[in-house]
């Protein structure tokens, strides 16, 4: 098992290095951060030269990559190109907020999605199964941003019409969120709609995976044996089927975390939530390359870590993997 973990760990290092190199090259070769300065007629060529020199934009990309890696490693991604604001404190703040959102989403989606999948599989072709299948298909065909907008429109109109505040439709906290339980309630009311948006779409996927995985295990020989030796159906399902059927879902859940960051970009932008996604869109619009690179690096690192966890978990759960 240990060699398996070490092998996986070593494999993820080159992936991370290549990712960082490609991110840096792509963003710095294709974009010109000084375009706005150049367009300004009152700034002379000499001034632009001096800015280029100060920001090391006149050096070859590979050398700038070296400087960037140094800054990323020793100075927490350094500062923004314009305004010299430190990047990491901001990124850390929004990362915390996004993790609150995504972890809640993931837990709820797995709990609900797995339950739906199990019920669909043991009552295959029932009304419940068909309606959940229909729900999943609609979920797959639905744009995230649209679902978020529809929820926002519904709850804003409820507030405008009856003046009842069920959920907030924008921001992460009220101006005066209070302390303790009040703060938690306030945060919950703010996070409810973004969570609802992402959970709905995640459930669509998890319930399908779980259903397929359950059906595959139910059809296997050892389940027939378990039934043949007279076990109660409940015990067969919970003890023999469910445990094995959960293994692939564990991997899907860890791998799905990366896609969830993508969903967060859209959802947080709509609900103006002070998280990773909203930060990404705002910095992308400001055409400052360094926060964008830092964002991509942090996300890539998190996804690689989650993939690692998924692989290691898979190794623990399924001996065929670590021994194979």
């Amino acid at each position: 098992m240990l060699t398996y973990i070490i092998r996986r760990l070593l494999y993820s290092i080159p992936v991370l290095v290549t990712t960082s190199f490609l991110i840096f090259t792509f963003v710095s070769v294709t974009g010109d951060p000084l375009a706005r300065l150049r367009a300004n007629p009152r700034i002379t060529v000499a001034e632009i030269r001096s800015v280029e020199h100060a920001k090391r934009l006149d050096r070859p990309v590979i050398i700038r990559y070296g400087f960037w890696v140094r800054d990323a490693a020793t100075k927490e991604f350094g500062t923004t190109m314009f305004g010299n604001n430190r990047i990491w404190p901001q990124l850390k703040r929004v990362l915390g907020h996004t993790l609150q959102l995504l972890v809640t989403v993931q837990i709820l989606a797995i709990l609900i999605g797995v339950s739906i999948g199990v019920l669909s599989a043991i009552r295959q072709y029932s009304l419940f199964d068909y309606s959940m299948t229909a729900f999943s298909f609609i979920g797959f065909a639905m744009p995230v941003f649209w679902l978020a907008l529809v929820l926002q429109v519904i709850f804003t109109n409820i507030y405008l019409k009856w003046h009842v505040r069920i959920f907030y439709t924008a921001r992460l906290s009220s101006v005066n969120p209070g302390h303790g339980l009040h703060f938690l309630l306030d945060r919950g009311q703010h996070l409810a709609l973004p969570v609802m948006t992402l959970v709905t779409l995640e459930i669509a996927a998890y319930s399908r995976y779980m259903r397929a995985s359950m059906l595959e295990v139910i059809g296997s020989d050892y389940v027939r044996t378990a039934r043949a030796k007279g076990l109660v159906e409940r015990r067969v399902i919970l003890k023999h089927v469910l445990r094995n059927a959960l293994i692939p879902v564990a991997t899907v859940a860890a791998l799905g975390f990366g896609a969830l960051f993508g969903g967060a970009i859209v959802t947080e932008t709509i609900f103006t939530l002070d998280g990773m996604g909203y930060y990404f869109i705002t910095t992308l619009q400001s055409s400052d390359p360094y926060p964008v690179m830092a964002w991509l690096m942090v996300t890539a690192t998190m996804v690689i870590v989650f993939n690692l966890i998924a692989d290691i978990a898979y190794g623990f759960l399924d001996p065929r993997i670590r021994l194979g």
Partner: protein
Amino acid sequence: MGDDARPAESKTGTTLTPEPALTGPYGSAASVAFSGQPTDFVYETGLELEARSQWAFARRRFLRHRLAMTSLVMLLVMFATGIFANFVAPYSFSAIDINALAVKPTWHHLFGTDQAGRDYFSRVIYGIRTSERVALLVGFLSTLIGTIVGGLAGYYRGWIDNILMRITDLFLTLPLIAVLLTAAKYLGHGTPTQVALLLAAFIWTPIARIVRGIFLSLREKDYVEAAKASGSGDVRIMLRHMIPNAIGPILVAATLTTGTAILLESALSFLGFGIQDPTPSLGTLISSGEDQGVRSWWLVTFPGITIVLVVLCINFIGDGLRDALDPTQRRVRA
């Protein structure tokens, strides 16, 4: 095509089993022959079944897939509405009706109007036109790139395979939408063609993986070896022997990619990194609907429902194709 075989059977007065095709391509004739009857009996009663190609079987399976056929008809209707938007749409996409500013859906304006008095039903139709152009172009281009790269990687293996796998690994480490947004920001966006090229440049990798997988197994097949022994070149082997055997999964992947393209295009346009405003696309319609405030719920609702319907149809067609083209499964009768 297979249906014309039936009247011929009944004319000769042979007893018809209710499902003659279930037993296989040469169905009843073969079973009679193997049941020990003299073979001339088969010829005398004229049980000549027309030989059906694999494609004929696939087509029959698809035509009998009710959900896929319904979706295909619906999608064709929607796409045709988009193509002939100039004739179908009751108003032009920029026409302003001063007497109807921001009105709810009525008989005159089925999907309501925005604050400038533009009819949203017409705008949705023009939006379908833009989105379908983007989606079809993306579907075609990404399938082409994916098949070429995946095919070369699977056939030659070696360094090209290595590079392909590293690229696909990379796409697994970053959320696709973040990559697309960054690329749109730095490579430019705005026109449907630009957005389509951008999407195609980044979503061919799953298709390449699929094709690579199939080619890896096909290259070990005996008929490929036979073709090699008879002196066929690599290109001929790939085009004549391997692509035809991989066409099923490629078609399915191409269909599903087209659906993904519609979703991604609308998301990019909504975030302001896709198609730009004067051109109506389904994404920009939702985004300009959002800008006009939450009271005009119809501006957000109808373009969204259109997207869901289009993508739903495409996905069902993809499922139908998968069922029809996968020869190992016989759930739908041929």
